[in-house]
Symmetry: C2
Subunit: 560 residues, 2 copies
Amino acid sequence: MSAENPDLAIAQAATLLPITEIAETAGIPAEALVPYGSYKAKVDVRQMQGLADAPSAKLVLVSAMSPTPAGEGKSTTTVGLADAFTLKKMSTMVALREPALGPIMGIKGGATGGGYAQVVPMEDINLHFTGDFHAIQIANNTLAALIDNHIHQGNQLGIDPRRIQWKRVVDVNDRALRSIVVGLGGPTQGVPREDGFDIVVASEIMAILCLATDLADLQARIDRVVVGFTYERAPVSVADLGVGGAITMLLKDALLPNLVQTLGGTPALVHGGPFANIAHGCNSLAATRLALALSDITVTEAGFGSDLGAEKFLDIKSRLGGLSPDAAVVVATVRALKMHGGVAKADLADEDIEAARAGTVNLARHVENLRKFGLEPVIALNRFPTDTEAELEAILDWAREQGFRAALSEVWAKGGQGGLAVADEVLAAMDTVEGDGFHHLYDPADGIEASLRTLAREIYGADDVVLEGRAPAQLRMLQRNGWDTLPVCVAKTQYSFSDDPSLLGAPTGHVLHVRDLVPKIGAGFVVALTGAIMTMPGLPKEPAALRMGVTESGESVGLF
Amino acid sequence: MSAENPDLAIAQAATLLPITEIAETAGIPAEALVPYGSYKAKVDVRQMQGLADAPSAKLVLVSAMSPTPAGEGKSTTTVGLADAFTLKKMSTMVALREPALGPIMGIKGGATGGGYAQVVPMEDINLHFTGDFHAIQIANNTLAALIDNHIHQGNQLGIDPRRIQWKRVVDVNDRALRSIVVGLGGPTQGVPREDGFDIVVASEIMAILCLATDLADLQARIDRVVVGFTYERAPVSVADLGVGGAITMLLKDALLPNLVQTLGGTPALVHGGPFANIAHGCNSLAATRLALALSDITVTEAGFGSDLGAEKFLDIKSRLGGLSPDAAVVVATVRALKMHGGVAKADLADEDIEAARAGTVNLARHVENLRKFGLEPVIALNRFPTDTEAELEAILDWAREQGFRAALSEVWAKGGQGGLAVADEVLAAMDTVEGDGFHHLYDPADGIEASLRTLAREIYGADDVVLEGRAPAQLRMLQRNGWDTLPVCVAKTQYSFSDDPSLLGAPTGHVLHVRDLVPKIGAGFVVALTGAIMTMPGLPKEPAALRMGVTESGESVGLF
């Protein structure tokens, strides 16, 4: 095992079960299995009868405290918790998001858990996997080309080139493509206009794929997508362009959930949607529903903290998909607590109980946020090698003092065995649900502004919401078109409850700055861009790509 | 069978053999087979011993006369000819190019043969297949982002943003991306510069993938790629950027040949490289070599006519890969002959023996061109339903008068059975090789200008070559760097031997206009852009995408 790269080494050293065996364990019939090599497959749910009538499993949602550069291990905890349920002989499935390649080349290096709590084959999952993101990319960009071609070929629909909201995408962190001018070079090269690329996960196609119930719903959603506006400011949809069929055709395989396995042998559906800061950031509804139909307990995750992925899981995905989570987990680490308590990254290895305790303000708000949805979350304190016993004790003591459920998670080092304490606490929490149980936080019918204000006050701890820049005019546009009663998907920095990434802990008294309100009619929500959040990341000065390579026998190097 | 869409209907109605059986037929061991669903697989050649020492099959190269909008059926003939050899109980493989998605959405609708001479599963092959083009796209664009990031982060290498020659790519016909400005929006959004997108097949990564002998050669070629020049005009390579390993890692699966089958049950390797007008346009060397090692007779194709794909197959791929074709086929149709003889597309259904005879000047030059490489080609006259017996007779008579080998091909309607006459003629031609046999046409050591002049005079029928625009300065740059003795890959319209697409038949007395000379050091050749050829196509007024869709059970509509 290479010291610098233990995750990849553990994954490469693991003996995997054939995907056909994993499918059998999960109860997926052979005729529904479309293998991609020996260890991954797509599940053709159309070949499976009776799924809709299957009793639904218990659903556990894993969230986390506000992330720090120190890393929290949310995917790791999700996988380890599922493996703990498997160890307890419960019929378990885990439903995860697919990693995006862009950030892997930048900072992250991979997103399939870590240590002895990983989904495998990790190299494949982190690289091209079964091609879903590539399919989304080309579907998105084919639509973009068809829009510009329509304008170039006479513009029968009268699309205003200054009011096209459909952007192109790549799965690369490429800041140079954020703001561009296309169509230069004269009359045969299209119509010049301002444009820009987003990262693939920010594409409305990704949201649609993650929310579609079947192929017909996928096509209906794609047809509803509003790509821009005419010179008379009337919306132009994909249906108006007549190309919804072609775009759906490009996505028909991508819609099928992907089956892999955890290191503990739990069947894992890894399908769709990371980036809960700029997108809704949940894995696909199709995969979650399949897992719920096939297992007794399904563990899933949503990106970042309760203010981002979890809120969107509970207010958007659960609402549109009729899901009702039974339990929630909030992943925390001593390191992240210390950073929220004011310690610099370089000093994290030094014991500092006081700072860790100070950082609990962040964790507490995440717990309280989830309680506002009628859930009683369990804190999973994810152990890192540098943590001292005294630090871990102090945090568990603090949780008890507060009346929060909490347990130590040691899944990175011990796999499912290290997740048993959290698993027991989750099962206990489910047995003692009080009150009315799960409910959504806001009612979209009250209007976008009201929804934003509720989120800002209840979840972000803000005093108010300000619409600035283009947002006020966009709000009027939403109202004119009857779109202001859709759920809102807030794009916001993951590092703070506020829209300012430097405000750690649990800030109050701040204002949420909304600068853009973009209708995603196919997805069924409005994206509110806040603060300085961008829908196309950049690469750092020393990108992870510099460390990557492949051996002559075809094994990856530098993925972790 | 749908009348408008017989190819798709035939393909969807066919009963395919499991890919494991096809692999067994081909002699590919189970441990080297990586299935992608039940009917397609990648072949992990690293798991196969002794390939290098296997006796080489006979190699048949299929080319065609200059294409017209009437369609010639080169892939159809290639597949049908292979199925004819299979019917004759010869151990046969066919090695084809992968279709590009961009033109499928535009005009073509598909590129897997037609009628009863197709490779299947045609829907999968025409859409995402095993993801090779997607992998090339993201490898190409990751490199592009790393270049712009390098400049943004301090530009340690001193790359001149005005002299970057690495372009981004998409597999979409998107004219609006031909000429763009990136990096707008201020200091945090990168460095503004002129840029542009090519279609994926024009990427140097595609050429490299199609010419690499193994993973180590792939990495070496990628490291050699020159992405641009410094302010001092020194070349900057991928090795200088230190990211060759990451780019190679993204391509490690794409390098493996894809196995499918023909409707006649012949094992087919479909891997890499269409677009012989703007790229070198051959399937991968890895796939061709695998086919040669496993079969007694391998049938392969190169894109468009003898002036494009065949010339590049013979002068570039064969030279770099040490291949020596044993026979060649030139596909012709009465319809194409009539168009080269002056008939408009709308009038092609009317019998016109005189026009067909007049169009033979085009066909004759293709035959003579291939003879210049020491090959004795067979004309395959590909029958269309509208052809009259008298027209077909007239062309076969003409061929006999000229001393050209020729046979009628009826593979579209009859599959392999309809290709037996051509197969017999090909076998007879191989038995009667005279002279020294196959040789290349020019010696790169004579310099790019000499190579271009030889091609222009010997193959295109031109009087001379003119370097214009940037080309003269680029020639000096090539000479300065010692790159002017590389083979030349001419990008030229496919519709004419000249660089003017309106000059049909067999034009003489024209001049080849070379406007750009782009060094592709990783691929190992220099691309010469001629006439008005573009490396990014556009969509037509009524794109094929308008007719496409998918049924609720997941079957494609409108692919043909």
